[in-house]
Each structure stands twice: as structure tokens, then as C-alpha cells.
Subunit: 281 residues, 2 copies
Amino acid sequence: MELLSTNACFEGEHRRYRHTSAALGCDMEFAVFLPPAAVGNQSRNVPVLYWLSGLTCTDQNFMQKAGAQKRAARLGMAIVCPDTSPRGLGLPGEDDSYDFGSGAGFYINATEQPWAPHYRMYDYVTRELPQLVEAELPVTDQRAISGHSMGGHGALICALKNPGHYASVSAFAPISNPTECPWGQKAFTGYLGEDRSRWEEWDATLLIPTARERLPLLIDQGTADEFLDSQLNPEALADACEKVHHHINLRMHRGYDHSFFFIASFIDDHLDHHGAALGLT
Amino acid sequence: MELLSTNACFEGEHRRYRHTSAALGCDMEFAVFLPPAAVGNQSRNVPVLYWLSGLTCTDQNFMQKAGAQKRAARLGMAIVCPDTSPRGLGLPGEDDSYDFGSGAGFYINATEQPWAPHYRMYDYVTRELPQLVEAELPVTDQRAISGHSMGGHGALICALKNPGHYASVSAFAPISNPTECPWGQKAFTGYLGEDRSRWEEWDATLLIPTARERLPLLIDQGTADEFLDSQLNPEALADACEKVHHHINLRMHRGYDHSFFFIASFIDDHLDHHGAALGLT
């Protein structure tokens, strides 16, 4: 694991690392914010919020634009931001569109060629990256997970498919029902093939009925989000939750869009949600 | 004045505008954050912090990366971010380097050709832009000014040269003595010519001895700033202040660099400084 850069930030540290990923078969970069409690003289290991970003993002968008570090510093919470896909593999078409291939891993394990050997972002973010981070950095195995848009979908499926693995989950404007929207259908067709029955295990709305762990879902969604009707569909998720009495707090925010100005406006609420679940408040 | 975009942000609004600048002889874009107090049902006009950005920045870097809106929303303060130079004029060499021409207006009025008719960022940020903003947006003529690096230099000279115009001034890692550093010497030679006596009115350190108004200076500087020794020289400014008993609060922050992670870490202190001067706290 190679340290690429360090920036002091709110008396903690923002760092970027590069490492060779076995799950993805390529080098990956990720960012971490370590709060003062983890880097000071009397430092201790701290719990981690894993943040999964949306289409086109790298490890840097959230770290630079969400304004999350101030509250995380105060809570004593680390934040780890992976990239959103493998990159630079030279696969045919990997850079042809913003919503498939590079920057669009969708946090699933691909089964179709040529993607299957590399596009295994689900294994990467749920297994390999936490193992690496917990072995190499001053963090514990107490984990929370959140994300935005494609990353909100990722956070939801990672939590729903891994009982006991995360203390809490939340999402901003998640792709809530990807099997039923153009972004999800394009990605799942490409990575998983035409057989829609194989898509179901990667769709939060379809996972809710059989979820073995009932972590409450905190979902923030802007009403002026340009992708709300066509791609995100949080109502489908809310309906699925209602049917099985899975607790969901879906907050609709009047006038907010899909941008980081929306995320920044409510990120502290999410950090507090995770901080409480992680025993930090 | 053409509205380019609006984003809801902390119950206020982030907006971008384009207008034709008479001072600069070209179209310019700027950003504004309006706090909830200025956009709600019972809105009122609010004071403005003018933020001047550093080399290579547009109106967007600070708005997206500094995390300033939360505190500004609470204080009831607008923030206006101009671009850092005219752009797209087709002048020879305007895009050849990061530290001269586009993105590097240095907040001065050029006297040399071909820059003189357009590179008048001082007139723009101290006169034309406030007049426009105060006429068209829900803001008052109570003003504060701050900035980073080249923009920290800009904030200091704008305040020092305009007694009564600003209620308060602050800077992050300002180019404190531009006549004595490579960035300043390159810019001043290009915009003002070889005669160094004509540079002096654009150097904060040289303006301090004759300043007619003694606004206290709040300056934050990281000790790990890669430009501290070669370009920024806050000690020269502090020495000049000490000689004439001009109040300066130069805070050296151990381990912080020149990035927005540094700005974000301390921006709330600056907003509080300006909020107090503007009667908001």
C-alpha cells in the first residue's frame, strides 16, 4: 500500500493510497480521512464510514466537496472512499460511456466477459478494502456504509447482503430499484447478461423482502433531482419496506438537486446517524 | 445578468450568473451563495463576503470545496465569488502559463499592452461587481473580503486601498509581499511593466505603513505550505504591521498545506470574524 499524499484537515489527516487489488486485478487508489483521535499522540483505532460515490466519480469527489470532515473529526470517525470502478484495463469499450465501464462499476460482481475478471467492486468494497484498511490503518472493524446515487445503491445492497457487517447504512439519492431504470438495466445487462433473474440479488428494493437484518434505512432525496423520476425511484424502495415493516426514513427535501450542494447540506445528519450506531455519540 | 444555474444549499441557494463586464470588456461568470435569510418568504437583504480565489481557480472552486455555506447560512451572510481573470479574449499568450493571464489576474489594473484594456480585476472586484450585485440581488452594501493565495493578496490590497469600503478583511496563505516573490514579479512585470515603483501600490506589505484605515488582519497560514518560503512570506507583512502597530493576527497552523483541506479547516473562523464585523453575531 503506497501513500500518495497527505493533507492536514481538521486536525486529522486526508490521505490517498494506491494498492494492487486482487479482487479487481489492477491497481486501485482510495482516499481516507483519519480524525484527530486516530492520528494524535494518544491515538486509538476508530470506526470507519465507507462512502461509495456515484457515476464518474473517483475517490476524490466526496472528500473535496461534501464537507464531511468537520463532523467526522469531532465524532472520531474515519471515512474511506474507494474509486467507483477498476480503471485503465484496456477492455473494449471501458471508456466509451459515463454510465458503464470506468467510473461505473455499480458495486456488483460481473459475470459477463470481458468484465468478469475485473469488475468485482462488490467483493472489493465489502471484503478486500476493509481487510486492507483494518490491517494497515488505525481503524477498527466497526463499519458503517453510505453513498450517493450509484453509490447509494451500492451502500444499500452491501448492507442488505451482509448481516452483521455494518452497524448502519444510509444513502443520498440512491438508485433504489436498478432493475427497473435505464442506468441499472444498462449496467446489469452488460455486467450480468440478459437473464434478469440474475439481476435480482443486486437490487435493494428486491432484497428488502428477504433481508435477514433490519438495519433502519436513512435516505435523503431532493425533489428537484433531475434523475428522480427516471432513475432513482425511492418510492419503490419505500413500498417494499412498508410491506415487510422494514424501517425506512425517506426524507424528501424540497428544491434540492443531485449535486454535492445537496449532499453537503445533509451530510452531518448522516454522520450523526452512523456515529450513534457506532457508539460515538 | 443571466442566471446560469441554481442549487439549493443549506436552505439557501447557490447560483451562477453571467454578465458583460464594462471594466473587463468581456463576459464574466460569478457565483453567489444566498443564505436562507435572503431567499425565504420573509427575506431581507444580507451583507456580503467577497471571496477572491487563487491561481487557476474559477468562481467554482471555493463554492464546491471550502465548505463555507453551512456557517454562512447560519450567520445570514451572502458569499460572492468572482472568477480570477478575464477569459477567452484571444490575447497573445493569455493561456500559456498557470501564473499569468487566464486564471491569474492578480486583482490589479494592468497598464501594459495588450493587458491594459481587459485585465482590470481590481476595478472589477472593488467597484463593478459590488454595484451589480447590490443592484440585482438581495444584499446590502455591507461588505467583507477574504481570499486565498493570489486571492488573499487581492483581499488585502482591496481592503487597504479602500477605507470604509469593507467592514473586515482576512486571508488564507496570501501572497503577502508580491513585489518580492516570483509569482508577483512575473505578474507585475507583465501587467505593470518593468518600473518597480509602479508595483508598490499593489503590495499589501508596502501599503501597510500608509494605510488610512486600520482594519485588523486575520491571516491563516499552514507551516507545510509548499509555497510558504518561496512565494507567500507572511512574516514580511507581520513585520510591516508591527512597525506601525497595525493589528494582525497571523495564525501559523502546524502541518497544513496550501490546499482546500486547509481552507475548509479554518473557514468557519473567518466567517465568524466577518460575521462579527458585519453585525451578524
